[in-house]
Every structure is written in C-alpha cells, then in structure tokens.
Amino acid sequence: MSKQTELVGLARTTNLDEVNAAYSAGALSNRNLIINGAMQVAQRGTSVSSTFSNYLVDRFTTSTTMTTYTYSQSTDAPSGFSNSSKVEVTTAEVAAASDFMSFVYNLEGQDLQRLAKGTASAESVTVSFWVKSNVTGTYILEFDDNDNSRNINKSYTVDVSGDWEYKTITFEGDTSGVFDNDNQLSGLLRWFWDAGTNFTTGTLATSWEATNNVNRATGITGTFGDTIGNYFQITGVQLEVGDTATPFEHRSYGQELALCQRYYERHNATATGVRMAAGNANGANSLTTIFPFLTPKRATPTLSYNNIVARQGGSNTTISSANVIGKSDAGLTADLLTATTIVTGGGYHIRASSSSSYIELDSEL
C-alpha cells in the first residue's frame, strides 16, 4: 500500500467516525422540523393589516386578541438569510387581562413522533432563531402539546433595540402525553410578545405541566402592543431533537415551497384570460370543477377565489359561489354555481377575468 493510499484511508476513517458521531447525535439532514424557517415563501403576499390572527409568510401565523398590526415579509435579515417575518403595531393598545399577542408555528402529530413524547425515552428539543425588536426586555417561548393540553415555557431576552440577536432554547423531553400520530395539530411553538394578567400572574412553566394559563407568560416584560411602531422580526427558526442548536439547515426555495404547499397553495393568474381549471356542467347552474393540486394536501382544503369566470364558446358566465365536494391526492372537486343558466353537460374552463385573479386552497393547521 502506498503512503498516499494509507493517508487517504486514514482520512476516510476519520471522516466516517465524525459522520457516525453526528449521526448518533441526530439526523444529518432533515434535522429542522420547521418548514420555511428562513421565511422565504410567502404565497399569500408580502403584507397584510389586521386585527385578527393571520397567516402571511407560509406556515407562520399571528395569534392575537389585541391591537391592529401589519404583518409583512421583510427583506431585512441577518447575514446568511434574505427574509424575515415582521409584525408592527399600527394601533396602540395596552393588553387587557385576557389579551395576548403572539406568533405561532403549528406542527402535525405525525411529524413529531421522533420526539418520543409521553415515553421514558422522551427527547429534548432545541429551538433556535434570530430576533430583532425595538422593545427590549424578557419574552416567552412556549412549546405547547395540543393533544394533551400540556406546555413548557422558557424566557429569553431582547437585549438590544434594533439589532439581530440569535437565541437558543432547549425544552426537556416530556414523559407524559403522547403526540397523536396523525395529520392534525399536535404541537405549537408560540412566541408571546405581549400578554395580560390572565397569562402572567403564576409561575412560569419551565417544566412540562398541564396547561394553566397564569403560568404561560409569567415574567414577560415587553409590552409590545402599547405603542405604535413597535415591531418584532424573526427568522432562521429551527426546531431539532437534542439539547444543542446546530447551524440552520437551509433548503432550496423549491424544496421549501413544495413543503409549504402541503398546507396552502395559491394559483395566481398574472394575466386576464389565463385558464385555471376545467369543469363540466352537471346542471343548469352548476359546474363540477377540478382544481389540480401542485402537492397533495394535508386535509380537504378551504376554497376561495377572486375574479374567475366560467367560459364556453367565447362567452363568460359569472361564478356566484362554490361548494367544495371533496379531494383526492390529485385535486379538489367543487361545484361552482353560476349566476345565469348554462348548457347542462357542456364542458367549461375556469378563466381569469383580471390579472389579479387567484385561486386559494387552504389546508393549514
């Protein structure tokens, strides 16, 4: 054996040892249980103003009972990232006792089975993220078990106003309460940004416990909602098994988009006249229509649309409402009801009547 071969062989052995060690500590890929943690995908648009809870950046929703705010996909991000989610207060409101403002990521039970929750082998998990805010102080991150009404909560601080800060929080494993192994909501990560006394007058639940609201945000000092212009930005969110935060696991935009589309997809027309679906008249005012999926959906989606018409033989017919019938892995079937009589048995296509036409299929958690 030549010297060179021996050295190559040694190097390979060393690398395999490192790989094995890393593998023992957790998966080398697909470590991050969060989809779109870099906030790149925003199918719904780049800004929304609301007083209610809203998804905007895919997979991340506000969850709030107070104030008016703008939720946007921002291009301000720490080095290595191109986007963040930003929530900014537009109407000041001091939190009443039952109020809260938070930012949430929802997880399916079948994606959490690796945590072995509710068993003697329950795993710790570590959340890492970048945060930026003009409101310094102490805030709370909660890991919530929706199946068993249990939660664990840890505090972190925003130390500097207007600068990106990297945070890591480890939640210990829970030997009680198994996550359901299904396609429904089991786990939530909730960043509390403001909370009334109904959530702050107990002792922070730094160990897993049965949900008791007064223990969920105790110690929070930031009063995010009380001043116009207060903002919170977040990106680089990673949730992984173990007690160590590893570097953020970047995926391509295409990978993230496909993962997001299990939960939501939006078909934008971009031009008048674009064909968006096809159907057949099953009655004098009803079109059975197939809306193809780009990705199979988690559950039967809610259907909404804007500026679409049914067209046959050069004539447009107005759609007055829709009636979801059901889904397959390939698409959603719905009866579209027309405002005027159509030719029963005739084939139609669904067409954009403006450049802003869209079809939304929403299976979010």
Binding site: T51, N54, L185, V324, K327
Partner: protein
C-alpha cells in the same frame, strides 16, 4: 387561542339536498369550507357555534 373573524356561515347542499360544505365569510373573504374536522376553518366554525357566537344558516 385562535381569533378568526367569521361574519357569515351557511350550509350548501348537493343535488340530493345533503349538506356538503359551508359558505362562509372569514376575515372578509368568501370561502367554501369543507365539512372536514381536520380543516381549520371548519373546526373554528364548530368552536364558535359551540360557544354560541356563530350560527350556521340552513341552505336556501
């Protein structure tokens, strides 16, 4: 801990008269909501009905 603004909800039926979906206005947008318990809009509609804050109108 959700807060969805549902301002209208009405069943829609198939040709046999069976309820197949709910036509709802949620956050100002008209939507067709399937009767699937795993659908978040349907789950929220049921929650608000149970709380007495929403009534689903029968199909016309």
């Amino acid at each position: 801990m959700n807060n969805m603004n549902i301002t209208a909800a009405q069943y829609v039926t198939d040709m046999d008269g069976n309820n197949t979906a709910i036509q709802a206005t949620i956050d100002g947008i008209e939507m067709s909501v399937p009767l699937d318990p795993a659908n978040r809009h349907y789950a929220e509609i049921l929650k608000q009905v149970a709380a007495g804050t929403l009534t689903i109108q029968e199909a016309t």
